[in-house]
């Protein structure tokens, strides 16, 4: 069960170096949770209004469904890119999303769906399966450049002078699933700092939804 906390975000900025900040220089971001554990796969987007639109890949990204899981359960795509949701399981799935960035519904299907789903808006889209509640997948629809934290929870960002803000998101964050935390780059006084994202444990695999999936299908 979700347990919200206040404040939802605690961002600790620690100035390690007092040398003048240089925008063109790379900065290192360390992301960890409230317990000090390093968070990998946190998505950091560098918001730069003046940057050119990234080229949208024509090939759709793929989020497969294997063994009642989305595989991979996190993909990062560019705004306007499509995602294909093939079903590799023997059973049918009902993939949907009520996220603000994209609402769609692939009613019970098996095998490859007819078409890929286009994601016109940037933002976080949480996808689930209506008949398998434990299936949760996240699609990060990025407008700008993004970067994932590595296994040690760090990411090295190459910033352009026009970069104004960065946003940080993690799939297990305590905050609303679609919410991203924005940091103002101009206010950063150092080129290495730490970001704390409170997380929760993802729900167990074998859940109520799996057990009573038939009912929820109505």
């Amino acid at each position: 069960m979700f347990k919200p906390f206040f404040p939802y975000f605690t961002v600790t900025l620690l100035a390690i170096l007092f040398s003048p900040f240089v925008h063109s220089a790379p900065i290192v971001v360390h992301v960890h949770n409230q317990h000090g554990e390093q968070l990998k796969n946190a998505i950091i987007e560098i918001i730069d209004p003046s940057a050119e639109q990234n080229t949208v890949p024509t090939e759709p990204a793929v989020m497969d469904q294997v063994n009642k899981r989305f595989v991979p359960d996190l993909i990062v795509i560019q705004q306007g890119q499509s995602v294909l949701f093939p079903n590799s399981d023997d059973i049918r799935h009902h993939v949907y999303s009520f996220s603000q960035a994209k609402q769609f519904e692939l009613k019970l299907y098996a095998g490859k769906p007819k078409a890929a789903i286009p994601f016109e808006k940037n933002g976080v889209v949480i996808v689930g399966c209506n008949i398998h509640d434990s299936m949760v997948g996240s699609i990060y629809v990025a407008k700008n450049r993004t970067q994932k934290t590595s296994d040690d929870g760090t990411a090295t960002l190459e910033l352009t002078p026009t970069s104004e803000q960065i946003s940080v998101w993690h799939s297990n964050q305590q905050a609303a699933p679609e919410q991203r935390v924005i940091f103002d780059i101009n206010k950063l006084k150092s080129n290495e700092y730490m970001i704390t994202i409170p997380t929760i444990q993802p729900p167990a695999r074998d859940t109520f939804g799996d057990t009573f999936g038939d009912y929820s299908a109505e």
Binding site: F2, P4, F98, Q103, P177, F212, S216
Partner: protein
């Protein structure tokens, strides 16, 4: 036989038995009351415990069911879709719609921050604390809205991540509490945090708040009120600082009814047992005590002198029967002894004749009668002599023989008795008056026959006093008295047969009357008794130097009483000492007064033999003499010659003592006694007083002259002064002067005079003979 009096033994037995049963039953009752009460309390407690378990179980179950239903609801795709639509109207409608599916009374939706998004009830609002704390609750909780209590269940809305929180509420209404009541069989009341009742299975018309009512309501009982309800207070999880409260209430009235019924059953049983105990112990006590009351009856019969009581009670126990027999035997023994004692009381032990008492009572029973009787009393002459000579045993045998003789008297129907000592009496019936003499003759003849005692032939002589009934008295006791008087007179007159003579009894009574009056006169000392003084002339000096004090008695009714008479009676009745004391006191007082008037004269006082033998005589005389401060030399004590000769030794000692003290002793009435001159010589006397019998006719009788002359001479020889009394003429005086007599006294000189008259007489005399 009914037991009329309260029998304490019986009561005690009944009390003991009843008391024991009472104590036992009270203890048992108290124990059963207590244990029943304890059992009830524990029953109630366990009922409430069970109810609490059921209640909690119910809530948990309900929560689980609700939770299940709610999860299904929140997992509904359409629901999730509607929620994620973010359209308020849609969300509200879906809440209402889906709420109805699971019959929820309240549906709420909050965002992840806990802010209320939508509600199935209009105007629902969280207060500030609820907004933050609701979502912190893990399980169900209770909230109030519009005075209704809701059990609220939180569920996350997942799409598939948690996007909102749904709250599903079920009202705790009367249906719920009624169901709880059915399950727990206890009343259930829910109270809000202001102690107001929300819902309850108990309705009460009282204005008192229900919570207080439950806690304080009582039911009236015997001695104190009992609480009407047992309550268990439970808290309900809520976000309020004061949780809602649930009262599990056991209505105790039915418990009390059962308890009371049990107690009254026990009480009734105990009362019955007590009643039975009283009856049985009463019966038992009656059986035990009835024979005792028979014994009481028996004892009462004994007390009345009836010793032949027979019981009709056949149900006596062996012990009581034995006791009863013992009592009966005792009664017989007492009867025998009583008869023996009665015989002894009625009879003279020596002769077996009736005794005095019995004789008198038999006399009372026999008389009055139409039959005439002779009443004879006899006394053996010289019996004390006989006693001395032959001894008491022979004398007793003699009395027995006489008694035997009396019982063998020929005249039938005589009544004989021994009164005391040697005095016997016989009541002899008379057919007519002519028989009197013949009967007396045969009676005396019988007595005259010699008595054969231990081979001795005794010729006894008797004094016999006789009265005749009814001639001498109608009254049996008076007759008896007169018979005894006749016997006394026979002794005095020394005659063998003495009939009672009319008037003798009255004379004796007169005598008694005089004695009584004399006692009164002495006691009152009111002038009835007074002293006269007769002067004595000293022939040597021709002066009046002595007087003889003589008592006189003027009784207000009887008039002048002869001194010889009453002094004699006083001697006979033993009051002479009192009389003499009075005389001594009066006389010495007079002497003292005269001495104060310068009249110096000696006084002679007559003293009787009884005075002399009185142990206090000397002391009293001396005390009186000292009291009036008079010298004993002025007092002469005149004692008759006869008195002087009695009890010589003691008399001599006393006379000597008197003489040593200074009193003069004079021998009164000298010449008529039989005293020897030799004895007279030994006595410490100083004066002889020649009896007037020799002096009164002195001038005529030559023999008297010889006696008086020789007596005077003899007295002078013995160094005694001589007084002649009864001098009544001049010739006698002259003769006595010639005979050298020392003093004379008599009418010729002066009569006895009162004190006052004596003084004037003395003055006249002294002037005439100066």
């Amino acid at each position: 036989m009914a037991i009329t009096q309260q029998n304490s033994l019986r009561q005690n037995i009944v009390l003991l038995c009843t008391g024991l049963v009472l104590i036992t039953s009270v203890i048992i009752q108290a124990a059963s009351w207590w244990s029943t009460s304890e059992f009830n309390n524990s029953q109630i407690a366990s009922r409430i415990d069970n109810a609490q378990n059921v209640f909690e179980q119910y809530l948990t179950e309900k929560e689980r069911l609700l939770s299940t239903a709610a999860r299904v609801l929140t997992a509904d795709f359409g629901f999730k879709q509607a929620v994620s639509s973010r359209d308020a109207e849609t969300i509200t409608s879906v809440l209402l719609n889906h709420g109805q599916r699971i019959e929820a009374d309240l549906m709420l939706l909050t965002d992840l921050e806990g802010k209320l998004v939508s509600s199935s009830l209009k105007d629902f609002q969280f207060d500030s604390s609820q907004q933050t704390s609701l979502t912190e609750q893990q399980n169900t909780q209770f909230i109030m809205f519009n005075n209704k209590l809701y059990q609220l269940l939180e569920l996350p809305v997942k799409a598939p991540r948690v996007i909102a929180h749904a709250f599903i509420g079920f009202e705790i209404d009367s249906t719920v509490v009624e169901e709880l009541k059915r399950l727990t069989s206890l009343d259930i009341s829910f109270f809000d945090n202001n102690n107001r009742v929300i819902v309850s299975t108990i309705t009460h018309a009282n204005k008192q708040p229900l919570k207080d009512y439950l806690a304080t309501a009582t039911l009236p009982w015997l001695f104190r009120d009992r609480p009407a309800y047992a309550n268990r207070k439970l808290g309900l999880d809520s976000h309020y600082s004061q949780p809602f409260q649930v009262f599990l209430t056991a209505d105790l009235s039915s418990t009390y009814q059962e308890y009371d019924a049990l107690i009254s059953t026990i009480t009734i049983i105990a009362s019955l047992i007590m009643l039975v105990a009283i009856l049985i112990s009463g019966l038992f006590a009656k059986n035990l005590t009835q024979p005792l009351s028979h014994l009481v009856e028996l004892a009462k019969e004994f007390a009345q002198g009836k010793y032949s009581y027979v019981t009709t009670d056949t149900k006596m126990s062996r012990e009581v029967s034995t006791l009863f027999d013992a009592f009966s035997d005792m009664g017989k023994e007492i009867d025998l002894r009583e008869q023996h004692i009665l015989h002894q009381a009625q009879h003279d032990t020596l002769t077996q004749l009736f005794n005095l008492h019995t004789f008198r009572s038999k006399l009372n029973k026999t008389l009055p009668s139409k039959q005439a009787y002779l009443l004879v009393a006899i006394d053996i002459r010289g019996f004390s002599n006989l006693n001395d000579v032959l001894g008491i045993q022979v004398a007793d045998e003699c009395l027995r023989a006489l008694a035997k003789r009396l019982t063998e008297f020929s005249i039938p129907n005589c009544l004989h008795a021994r009164l005391h000592g040697d005095v016997f009496t016989s009541l002899i019936p008379l057919q007519n008056e002519k028989e009197i003499n013949s009967h007396i003759e045969s009676y005396t003849a019988m007595l005259a026959e010699p008595l054969q005692v231990r081979r001795l032939s005794l010729n006894l002589k008797f004094w016999i006093g006789i009265t005749t009934y009814p001639n001498d008295s109608n009254d049996p006791q008076a007759l008896f008295q007169r018979t005894m008087l006749a016997l006394d007179n026979a002794k005095k007159e020394n005659t063998t047969v003495r009939f009672y003579q009319e008037g003798e009894e009255e004379a004796r009574l007169e005598h008694l009357k005089i004695v009584e009056s004399l006692k009164e006169a002495l006691a009152s000392d009111d002038g009835q008794l007074y002293m006269n003084y007769q002067p004595k002339l000293n022939l040597k000096t021709n002066k009046i130097d002595k007087v003889e004090a003589l008592i006189r008695w003027q009784h207000p009714e009887m008039g002048f009483v002869s001194p010889e008479l009453f002094v004699n009676y006083a001697e006979q009745t033993g009051i002479i000492f009192d009389l003499t004391s009075w005389v001594i006191n009066s006389t010495i007082k007079q002497l003292s007064e005269w001495q104060q008037q310068n009249i110096f004269i000696e006084i002679a006082i007559n003293i009787s033999a009884q005075d002399f033998s009185h142990p206090e005589f000397y002391n009293q005389l001396k005390a009186t003499t000292d009291k009036y401060k008079v010298s004993p030399q002025h007092i002469t004590l005149e004692i008759t010659e006869r008195d002087l000769m009695e009890d010589e030794k003691r008399t001599i000692a006393l006379l000597q003592e008197l003489k040593d003290t200074g009193y003069t002793i004079s021998v009164d009435d000298y010449g008529i006694g039989q005293s020897s001159l030799a004895k007279l010589k030994e006595l410490p006397v100083k004066e002889l007083k020649i009896d007037k019998a020799f002096v009164m006719e002195l001038h005529k009788s030559e023999s008297d002259q010889i006696i008086v002359s020789s007596t005077i001479e003899l007295g002078h020889r013995l160094n005694l002064s001589v007084v002649a009394e009864g001098v009544e003429n001049e010739q006698s005086l002259a003769l006595l002067k010639d005979m050298d007599c020392d003093h004379i006294q008599g009418y010729h000189l002066a009569k006895p005079l009162t004190a006052k008259n004596f003084v004037s007489w003395l003055n006249d005399y002294e002037q005439t003979n100066a």
